[in-house]
């Protein structure tokens, strides 16, 4: 009798254990890296909100565990080094943050999301954009910009960034500087007036890596080649939703291949003239020895520069830190006085999808069996209900999901976001890879400092353009490459 009870107990126990083990094996763990959207140490609100979102999801899907990796801190190169190492070890997050241009340049690391984006997103209420077709919930201009040269989408964007000129009003008023500029020429004159009074005008820095000079660079080069850029568009990338758009790496490569974008073009001299003018008159002294936006903000907060070119993501810090009156505005338009190749007075906005909300799924997720769960969580995360919760603490980014409102501090950038799109994008993504952006920045840095002559700069730059085209043709085998 006793033995029988013991045997039954053992059998039940074994069965229970098997069931438990089975359940444990059935559970899928999705590892996610959300960048600054999950930064428990520096932003407790991000942890509170994301943990709540994850808990809600896990309640709906008890068989899935979402494991967020906290923000690594440091600058982006730290993260990309970490990510590369993880990839080499086959231990990268299933859902990861990255810049769209980096992702598109390393497409084999990420999953093409097209088929999922064409499908429904059941986390969006019926009748709302995105319910029937997930892709419909995102802004069309954003989708157009993040699309890879091969036609795929390797990420979804939940938000967008803009940049603006932050002005120390008190300093300007005390020195009698009028900031109601009608043109770029007026802006340069204000810079000269500030310098004459011993005040450093504009906080912009330039390094071989990423820097805010890249923004300036795109404004100037877009103004210099303004009349040519539309003719470089290729039919494959035309988008009815984007009147103005940035050239894709293929369009840049083809224009370079055809000799339309070259250093022998007089427009390139206009670009160099504009660069030299703004460098000599406006940029803060030592701009080439500054490596971070934080240093620029310190100079701004300590009255060492009158203006700083910052991003929407800096707006909450400026609001909370500046001890003087700050106006957020933008540069005035270039006119024919600055570039005779402009068809009308124009200033371009510098913003884009390089924001906190750029998420893609690792190509390794399919091998690990976490792809479906990753797609499902991404659908949940990008549904307006969740995106609005994130926008509540991620104040410095403008949501680009239909039906999601920006935070109060980011609303001031709405007018800037209506300005035309620059035709030529940042150097780091211009030819689909930082290996072309870094040498570009080096040459520009040397030219701006007067350390290499114009002719030397042009010779070296043309060699760089030719190499970029040759490499891109080899990597992509575009039809026109052999023509």
């Amino acid at each position: 009798m006793r033995l029988s009870i013991l045997a039954k107990g053992l059998t039940m126990g074994l069965l229970g254990l098997t069931a438990l083990t089975g359940a444990a094996y059935a559970q899928t763990t999705v590892k996610i890296y959300m960048g600054q959207l999950y930064a428990p140490d520096s932003d407790p609100r991000s942890k509170e909100t994301m943990d709540a979102i994850i808990a809600d999801y896990e309640k709906l899907h008890p068989d899935t565990k979402i494991e967020p990796v906290p923000w690594l801190g440091g600058d982006q190169s730290t993260y990309f080094a970490w990510l590369s190492t993880r990839y080499a070890a086959g231990d990268e997050p299933d859902i990861g943050w990255s810049h769209y241009y980096t992702r598109n340049a390393e497409a084999d690391r990420w999953t093409a999301l097209n088929e999922y984006l064409d499908g429904p997103n059941d986390y969006i209420p019926t009748g709302q954009p995105g319910h029937d077709k997930w892709n419909d919930e995102f802004f069309d201009n954003v989708k157009a910009q993040i699309r890879a040269p091969d036609g795929n989408w390797y990420q979804v964007n939940t938000n967008w960034v803009e940049t603006g000129l932050f002005i120390n009003n008190d300093l300007m008023k005390a020195n009698g500087i009028d900031t109601n500029w009608a043109s770029w020429t007026d802006f340069i004159k204000s810079c000269k007036d500030l310098k004459a009074k011993g005040i450093q005008p504009l906080g912009v820095f330039a390094t071989p890596g990423w820097s805010t000079d890249q923004w300036l660079d795109t404004l100037l080069i877009s103004a210099a080649f303004a009349d040519q850029i539309p003719s470089w568009h290729l039919p494959a990338y035309e988008n009815p939703f984007m009147k103005d758009r940035q050239l894709t790496p293929e369009e840049m490569a083809k224009a370079t291949h055809d000799g339309k974008f070259s250093t022998t073009d007089p427009r390139f001299d206009t670009f160099l003239d504009l660069t030299k003018e703004v460098t000599d008159n406006c940029l803060v002294e030592g701009f080439a020895g500054i490596t971070s936006l934080d240093q620029i903000m310190n100079l701004f907060f300590n009255d060492k520069v009158a203006m700083a070119w910052l991003g929407t993501w800096n707006a909450p810090t400026v609001r909370d830190t500046a001890k003087f009156s700050v106006t957020t505005t933008y540069f005035p338009p270039f006119t024919n006085e600055n570039s005779k190749y402009l068809t009308q007075p124009t200033i371009y906005r510098v913003g884009g999808p390089s924001s906190s909300g750029q998420f893609g799924i690792s190509s390794g997720a399919a091998d690990r069996g976490t792809l479906d769960a990753s797609v499902d969580f991404l659908k949940f995360l990008t549904a307006p209900a969740q995106a609005q919760r994130i926008a509540g603490y991620d104040e410095g980014n403008l949501p680009v999901i239909k039906g999601v409102e920006p935070a109060e501090v980011a609303k001031g950038f709405s007018a800037i976001s209506q300005l035309p799109e620059r035709g030529i994008t940042d150097a780091v993504s211009r030819y689909n890879g930082e290996q072309y952006g870094t040498p570009h920045n080096r040459l520009l840095q040397s030219f701006m400092l007067g350390e290499i002559s114009r002719d030397e700069m042009k010779t070296q730059y043309q060699a760089l353009l030719d190499k970029a085209v040759a490499d891109q043709c080899e990597a992509n085998s575009w039809d026109w490459c052999n023509q």
């Binding site: 080499a88 071989p208 030592g286 701009f287 080439a288 020895g289 490596t291 060492k304 840095q445």
Partner: protein, 311 residues
């Protein structure tokens, strides 16, 4: 009673087994270290030799491409500049660190009072615990053109015209990086020199003093020759450090302005982690290894060439 038991036990163990055990014990203790070295040092090094001949992207691509990575490297002016910068940076830093650390060590050595000497040794060594990244960030403030200590000091003493954007122009950036940590007293070099000086036979020092030898003559004829091993050791470390330096570039200059502060290790870092060209990064590593070995061999030759302490 216990000792007798042990004696009996040891007697009962066969002689051959004892010899075998004692022969293998040291190797057993070495095993964890050897495993660590093999797994984390030798295998990656030999793997780098292989991958330097491939187009490895750190993940899937890994096709054999012969010596293309090496030809691409030597055709890249940034890579060539990196090696020239490395030579300048390492020379400057090696000379400066050896000189100042040696002077500091001699000053400490000349203090008679044991307690005072100990106080200064501790005072000089304590900053060694500050993390390097913090030191670089501190020097970013020291070199800052707007609010930096150097420019402010120059302004205070009426030399405002000498103010410079130290890290913001090619002519001063590399030198500025080399002088980070000045006056270099809080360094391993200082510790080695102090220890070596204190280890010098007192009778030689006293004989020199009795013979009327001046301090300068003693330093030149006694201290320097007897510290030769330590000096060469520190020099080798500094050369290898010069080859491997990436932190100041990451924190202070990103290799700029232009290519003025680019160094081979930072070039390797960017090639691997920014550009995803792991195969080419391995080629950089192989070249660096070769250069490191050559410099180390030269230094060792200098160390042992007609040295007093070597037969």
């Amino acid at each position: 009673m216990t000792s007798v038991a042990i004696e009996q036990a040891s007697v009962s163990v066969p002689r051959s087994r004892l010899r075998l055990t004692s022969r293998w014990v040291p190797f057993l203790f070495l095993l964890p270290v050897a495993a660590e070295l093999i797994i984390f040092r030798y295998i990656p090094t030999f793997s780098a030799f292989y991958h330097s001949l491939t187009n490895w992207d750190g993940r899937k691509k890994d096709a054999f491409i012969g010596f293309k990575n090496f030809t691409d490297l030597f055709n890249d002016n940034v890579f060539r500049d990196a090696f020239v910068n490395m030579a300048k940076y390492t020379s400057l830093r090696t000379i400066a660190v050896l000189l100042f650390a040696f002077i500091a060590a001699e000053l400490i050595f000349s203090i008679r009072n044991e307690r005072v000497r100990m106080f200064w040794k501790i005072a000089f060594v304590i900053p060694l615990v500050v993390p390097r990244s913090v030191i670089y960030l501190m020097w970013a403030f020291i070199y800052d053109p707007q609010v930096g200590l150097i420019n402010e000091a120059l302004n205070l003493i009426g030399l405002g015209a000498w103010q410079q954007p130290w890290l913001g122009q090619s002519s001063t950036a590399l030198g500025a990086l080399a002088f980070i940590g000045f006056p270099f007293v809080s360094s391993l070099a200082f510790l080695i020199f102090v220890a070596s000086l204190e280890g010098l036979p007192r009778d030689i020092i006293e004989t020199a003093q009795l013979e009327g030898c001046s301090i300068w003559k003693r330093i030149w004829n006694v201290d320097l020759p007897m510290l030769r091993g330590g000096i060469v050791f520190v020099a080798v470390l500094l050369i290898l450090e010069g080859l491997q330096t990436t932190e100041p570039q990451l924190i202070l200059t990103r290799g700029g302005p232009g290519t003025s502060t680019e160094l081979p290790a930072y070039y390797l870092y960017r090639t691997a982690f920014d550009y995803g060209k792991f195969g080419q990064a391995c080629a950089v590593g192989v070249v660096m290894l070769g250069v490191g070995l050559i410099f180390t061999a030269i230094s060792m030759w200098l160390r042992y060439r007609s040295a007093y302490d070597v037969d």
